[in-house]
């Protein structure tokens, strides 16, 4: 029976498509966007919550900025879960970056808070601490998932080698 074979150009196109889809830099860009949006949102919301007697226009402006930050966070999360899917190894890289970034953010916010008498940096640091906790949890989960998959992969390879003998 005639078995049509896929055109060679299509196979090449698919390999290019796959390489593009799986490239780590494209994922890291969206991860950076997510982290930056989270930091900006934390600072803006901290200011909005802790600054007393802000003029109405300032409050509205900060609210809009906070909303924009949260929107960017949602967009980056959507891309990373639907378009540039994070594979198991990518999740570990992303988790580590998130932990490092969140730690720096918390340290920075606390430093500013300790050198000024303003409450806003402490509020931002508190939100940063929440981000850090979430990052640590995600990193631990990613490592656990990676270990489970690796264990199963090694087990399957061993079983298949035994069957081949």
């Amino acid at each position: 029976m005639a078995h049509p074979t896929p055109p060679a150009t299509l196979t090449e196109d698919l390999r290019r498509l796959t390489a593009l889809e799986l490239s780590l830099p494209s994922r890291l860009r969206y991860l950076a966007l997510l982290l930056a949006a989270a930091a900006v949102s934390a600072i803006v919301i901290a200011l909005l919550v802790t600054e007393p007697a802000l003029p109405t226009r300032t409050s509205v402006a900060l609210g809009v900025m906070g909303g924009a930050g949260v929107s960017w966070m949602i967009f980056a999360t959507w891309v990373l879960t639907r378009q540039r899917i994070l594979l198991s190894s990518h999740r570990i890289v992303a988790g580590r970056l998130a932990v490092v970034f969140s730690t720096l953010f918390v340290i920075g916010a606390l430093s500013v808070g300790l050198t000024t008498s303003n409450a806003s940096p402490f509020a931002a640091a508190a939100m940063g601490a929440v981000m850090l906790a979430a990052a640590v949890a995600m990193l631990a989960r990613a490592k656990r998932h990676f270990a489970q998959l690796s264990k199963r992969r090694d087990e399957l390879q061993r079983l298949l080698e035994q069957e081949d003998r």
């Binding site: 889809e21 639907r82 198991s88 690796s150 992969r153 399957l156 298949l160």
Partner: protein, 262 residues
């Protein structure tokens, strides 16, 4: 059509009889020739004979994949229990992709691009449409594989994606041009065409493409892609009984066409 012998392209395959014998026999010979056995239904009484001839009709029938009854083994030949290792291979490939091994995606394409192309090409009957659909299919595969929970079901999962992508495309096209029908009714096939077509394997291919879509995909997945009945049920998201009835009807339609031609 009377029983015919027909040597094709370097004598790799031979049409032996009417369709219910041809499809499984051709499939089993192809798999036997490549040393690959897909399921416990594959019985391999002689691996090294490159050509089936009419006198081997009985043996060829023993190679049948039998969707409607128990596996027959009249020869005492070896039943190769490889469906388990096939699942393990699939699971290993899926896990390597989920881990993020770059080479695993190359392996995935190398292993499954051909079968998916054949499946989609057979259902669309058109190179350009198949090409576009395949690109969508692979995008969905790459984006979806981290969420695949049971790697051992990779085969059914891939064909399921191909089928859903194809159906989405047909739905879109149907919405745009409601008057156009993608299925060609077997009754519309000219009798002359049927006579010519059954004389060669390309003809069988064309006859298969003229089956109604539901029967065509069931026959293609079972006989040509060698999915199990359960895998086909998962791929098509229909009950097992529906798969069997589509296979039965598909075989019956092909048989009718070919016996009319003979």
């Amino acid at each position: 059509m009377s029983h015919k012998d027909l040597r094709i392209s370097g004598s790799t395959l031979v049409i032996l009889a009417v369709v219910p014998e041809i499809l499984p026999a051709a499939t089993s010979r192809r798999r036997a020739a490549s040393g690959e056995f897909a399921s416990s239904h594959d019985i391999v009484p002689f691996q090294h004979a490159p050509v089936l001839v009419a006198s081997e009709l009985t043996t060829a029938r023993l190679c049948d994949r039998e969707p409607f009854g128990p596996i027959r083994d009249y020869t005492g030949g070896t039943i190769v229990p490889t469906i388990d290792s096939r699942s393990k291979d699939d699971e290993l490939l899926a896990i390597r992709c989920q881990l993020g091994e770059a080479a695993a995606f190359d392996d995935l394409i190398a292993r499954w691009h051909g079968p998916l192309w054949v499946f989609v090409r057979r259902l669309t009957g058109d190179d350009d449409a198949a090409r576009e659909i395949l690109q969508d299919v692979w995008l969905r595969v790459i984006r979806g594989i981290p969420r695949l929970r049971e790697g051992s079901k990779l085969r059914a999962w891939l064909f399921g994606i191909a089928r859903r992508t194809l159906m989405d495309r047909l739905r879109d096209q149907y919405a745009r041009t409601r008057t156009r029908d993608f299925d060609v009714d077997v009754d519309e096939i000219p009798a002359e065409a049927a006579v010519d077509e059954i004389d060669d394997l390309d003809g069988l291919e064309r006859a298969l493409q003229r089956l109604p879509l539901l029967e065509r995909e069931a026959v293609t997945l079972f006989y040509l892609e060698e999915l199990s009945l359960n895998e086909i049920a998962e791929t098509l998201t229909v009950p097992l009984g529906t798969v069997k009835s589509r296979l039965f009807r598909g075989r019956w339609l092909l048989r009718e066409r070919m016996t009319e031609g003979g």
